[in-house]
């Protein structure tokens, strides 16, 4: 497996958030989903920078929605995961799983 297929931790978290949100995945919802599920504060800039990187790699794609009044007339940018993104996410999750397998006795979980 090429090294480039393995995703960083933030990339995995962002992709999982996009997957969870489905058709409602855009910057704000992705950011809130990550905060709610991980308890970790994340900036909207970090979400966008990560999504931009993932889009450049062909792991996610985006399309522009309709402008709405509560957004000051600005359109949403929706994201969805591509087939290559699913493969990369699988590879990264499997790599983690394989690395942690058999460590239950040594692993001091909090």
């Amino acid at each position: 497996m090429p090294r480039g297929d393995l995703l960083g931790s933030l990339e995995q978290i962002v992709m999982l958030a996009v997957m969870r949100l489905g058709a409602d995945a855009y910057g704000m919802t992705v950011r809130r989903e990550i905060e709610e599920r991980t308890g970790r504060e994340i900036s909207i800039g970090a979400v966008y920078a990560t999504l931009e990187r993932l889009e450049a790699k062909g792991y996610v794609s985006s399309f522009t929605g309709e402008p709405t009044a509560e957004r000051g007339g600005r359109a949403k940018r929706h994201f969805e995961i591509e087939a290559a993104g699913h493969r990369a996410l699988n590879a990264s999750q499997n790599a983690l799983k394989n690395m942690s397998e058999g460590l239950s006795r040594r692993w001091k979980r909090a």
């Binding site: 950011r31 800039g45 966008y48 522009t64 000051g72 949403k76």
Partner: protein, 183 residues
């Protein structure tokens, strides 16, 4: 939060991202700002924390995208070109000057013409480069005047300071207008 505060922060974000992406991000911030307004969290504090933590990340992403680097290289190259043009013009026109006033006028005109031409070229490559060039012209003129021996008249120093950046912006505006006409 005041409208001017929002406008300034949105202006900053728009400088760091492609237009469509910046629009979406600003829309997300505004939408969440409305949601936060109904909670107990300090809205202004939340907004500024978001902005402060977003700007370095977006700046880095912008540098990775290459947009920033191209703008900086274009601006610096344009500035060097402007300095060379000024030197060539001045050495060509120097023998024709008879008085110090004529010399100052020629210096000023050659400087304005050079930075306007370079502003035009920089803007045709990247608009951000022309803005950066205007800043470079202003900053270096300030530095030169601060270190000058005080020999030049005040009108000359003031004109250099004002006309330099203005000529750069005028050159950039001309480039933008011609591009729109061609389209």
């Amino acid at each position: 939060m005041s409208l001017s505060t929002l406008a300034v922060s949105q202006w900053i974000l728009a400088r760091l991202m492609p237009p469509a992406q910046a629009e979406a991000l600003i829309g997300d911030l505004l939408e969440e700002l409305r949601l936060q307004a109904g909670s107990h969290v300090s809205v202004a504090g939340w907004y500024w924390r978001q902005l402060a933590s977003s700007v370095p990340v977006l700046l880095w992403a912008s540098m990775r995208r290459g947009a920033w680097l191209v703008s900086v290289v274009t601006a610096v190259a344009s500035y060097i070109a402007a300095v060379l043009i000024v030197l060539v013009l001045q050495s060509a026109l120097w023998p024709m000057t008879t008085s110090s006033f004529a010399h100052d006028v020629i210096m000023l005109l050659s400087f304005v013409a050079a930075v306007a031409a370079c502003g035009y070229v920089a803007a045709s490559i990247r608009l951000g480069a022309a803005r950066l060039l205007a800043f470079l012209v202003f900053a270096t003129t300030c530095a030169m005047l601060a270190n000058s021996t005080g020999r030049a008249p005040l009108w000359y120093e003031g004109s250099l300071l004002v006309l330099g950046p203005l000529a750069t912006i005028a050159g950039a505006a001309l480039s933008g207008r011609l591009r729109r006409v061609r389209l």
